[in-house]
């Protein structure tokens, strides 16, 4: 049987990591033309996966103009809820089908200033409301690892773009799992930064108190390279923190020796089948000099409820702006999922119901913060499964009003508290070619710790499909 879990091929530059492609360009082993030709070919060959909603036509010219910058003019795929000047931005909703923004989101500007080229816009669950990319108004995206399965979501187009080697790296956004969960299902790396680390300016707002843009990449190192370009204070997003951006690439090789790591949700029965598959993976951290202990944390089922209420409430407010007057079309064009969320959020924040639902949810959010404060007093990092199991088959969301919330259950506690998290592939099923992911959570602003652990793990194991055998 052909070994299908190696993406990296020395003759196909679209399968190279960002770090490798930068190096090869610097050494003149490859040209930008060769890279873009290979990427374009991969995009054409994977049309059936429905990854891209729009493509820029002047990428190579832009690439040459940016060749000397940190990202070397390399092609980056961007989730279609980030505004891109003169390139349609739909949030995968019919409401914005024709919308051409007259401005760039801050993340996109920073990417371009750092030498990235926006190759195209990737599919998502409409308005990022979902965890499957199946609720897009423009059709579902298929999982490149196994096309009978969903890629996860909502950044499923971006994780599929990386998994299919149709870009060198990508951008996603996470409100509660939307970077890490599709990264797990597609077998790629997803880095959700601390809330307030990356600007939300120009991103179609979903739940403003948890929305966090971040990189989706082939390796932890690549994710760090992109993070360093897009993070930082933005005067146009008052919730971004005025803190220096850490040079994560300089921290990568510091290892995990002496770190104390808590193993989250080891006691949840419904996860036992997946836990059995990754038991050996936790021992990897111990072999690298860390101490791993099972810990007791506040039940994530409560976070599902907090997130459901907070997200719907904020959505009902944020989607209020779509009146079809200044841009977009009228509100009858909202899909079923958006209608459900806007209306339920209107209910949970309405007079007579807000105390019972919205206020209670925000109080339980405090309990989660307190719980994490206590855990981080004892542990440097927390790890656990990213998703309860493997990718679900296409069609799995039909009739499931709470599909996303339950698939994202293990991520929601860290999302509602603003903590940074990192998905790294940690198991591959040889029969389906589908992956499980490990979620590494760090305290606020400590992305450095989580990428050290992620990189050390990636180097010590064989799950990463871009690994170059020495």
């Amino acid at each position: 049987m052909a070994d299908t879990h190696k993406n990296y091929h020395p003759d196909l530059p679209n399968t190279w990591t960002l770090a490798r492609a930068r190096q090869a360009l610097a050494n003149k082993e490859v040209t930008l033309e060769e890279i873009y030709t290979a990427v374009d070919k991969a995009v054409a060959q994977t049309n059936n996966l429905n990854i891209y909603l729009a493509r820029d036509t002047k990428t190579l010219t832009k690439a040459h103009q940016r060749a000397e910058l940190p990202l070397s003019g390399l092609p980056i795929a961007v989730k279609d809820n980030f505004c891109t000047k003169d390139l349609t931005t739909t949030a995968s909703s019919n409401v914005l089908r024709e919308f051409i923004p007259p401005f760039d989101s801050t993340v996109v500007s920073k990417l371009e200033q750092g030498g990235g080229v926006i190759l195209g816009k990737t599919n998502l669950d409409a308005w990022a409301h979902g965890s499957s990319t199946e609720t897009s108004d423009f059709g579902r995206t298929l999982n490149p690892r196994s096309p009978d399965y969903l890629p996860g979501g909502s950044s499923g187009g971006s994780t599929a773009a990386v998994a299919a080697d149709t870009c060198i790296a990508a951008i996603g956004s996470e409100t509660a799992g939307s970077i890490r969960q599709p990264a797990a299902w597609c077998g790629v790396v997803g880095l959700k930064p601390t809330y307030g680390r990356c600007s939300r300016f120009g991103v179609a707002a979903m739940a403003s108190s948890t929305d966090s843009p971040g990189p989706i990449a082939k390796t932890v190192e690549d994710a760090c390279l992109v993070f360093e370009q897009i993070a930082g204070h933005d005067p146009y997003d008052s919730t971004t923190a005025n803190q220096p951006v850490p040079k994560l690439t300089e921290q990568l090789n510091k290892g995990v020796k002496g770190l104390k790591i808590g193993w989250l949700y080891s006691d949840i029965q419904e996860l036992s089948a997946s836990h059995k598959l990754i038991e050996k993976e936790l021992a990897v951290f111990e072999s690298l000099g860390a101490r791993v202990e099972p810990i007791k944390a506040l039940d994530p089922h409560y976070a599902v409820s907090v997130y459901t209420i907070v997200q719907r409430t904020e959505v009902s407010s944020n989607l209020g702006r779509y009146s079809g007057i200044r841009y977009g079309s009228e509100r009858s064009n909202f899909g079923n999922e958006a209608k459900r969320r806007v209306m339920l959020g209107t209910f949970t924040s309405a007079k007579g119901y807000a105390d019972k639902y919205y206020l209670t949810a925000q109080k339980v959010r405090t309990l989660f913060r307190q719980d994490f404060d206590q855990l981080f007093a004892k542990y440097d990092l927390l790890i656990g499964l990213t998703s309860p199991g493997f990718a679900k088959k296409i069609g799995a969301t039909e009739g499931q009003a709470m599909f996303g919330e339950l698939e994202d259950m293990l991520l929601e506690p860290s999302s509602i508290t603003g903590l940074p998290g990192l998905n790294v592939p940690c198991y591959r099923d040889p029969l389906t070619n589908l992956y499980l992911g490990l979620n590494i959570i760090a305290p606020m602003w400590r992305e450095d710790l989580m990428v050290r652990a992620g990189h050390a793990y990636e180097q010590a194991t064989e799950w990463n499909s871009w690994r170059i055998d020495k």
Partner: protein, 100 residues
């Protein structure tokens, strides 16, 4: 006991300015009911002494200078480019006040 009936769903739809198709209210009522069942677990926690967390960033009173940044301004043409209805350089809006 069911909390949602067609009248409540229609009331919420009006508040949210979401036009419903015929029969949609019944389906939505069922879906809302099932979601409320999932989130009912919050009742099990004692939150009587807990303060709410509305935001996690811990920033307060973030100000900026009240100045016009010309480089960020749209031209009239850019501002109107995505509108479906314009009138002499303005956005045309639907009538919301009765002619009487």
């Amino acid at each position: 006991m069911s909390q949602f009936d067609s009248a409540l769903v229609q009331h919420i739809a009006n508040l949210a300015n979401i036009p419903l198709k015929p029969g949609e209210d019944k389906k939505l009522a069922e879906e809302f009911e099932s979601t409320l069942k999932v989130i009912a677990n919050l009742k099990k926690l004692d939150t009587s002494q807990v303060k709410p967390t509305y935001q996690v960033g811990e920033l307060e009173n973030v100000w900026r200078d009240d100045v016009v940044e010309k480089k960020r301004m749209f031209t009239q043409e850019e501002a109107l480019a995505n509108a479906t209805n314009t009138h002499k350089g303005f956005f045309a809006v639907p009538q919301i006040i009765d002619k009487g």
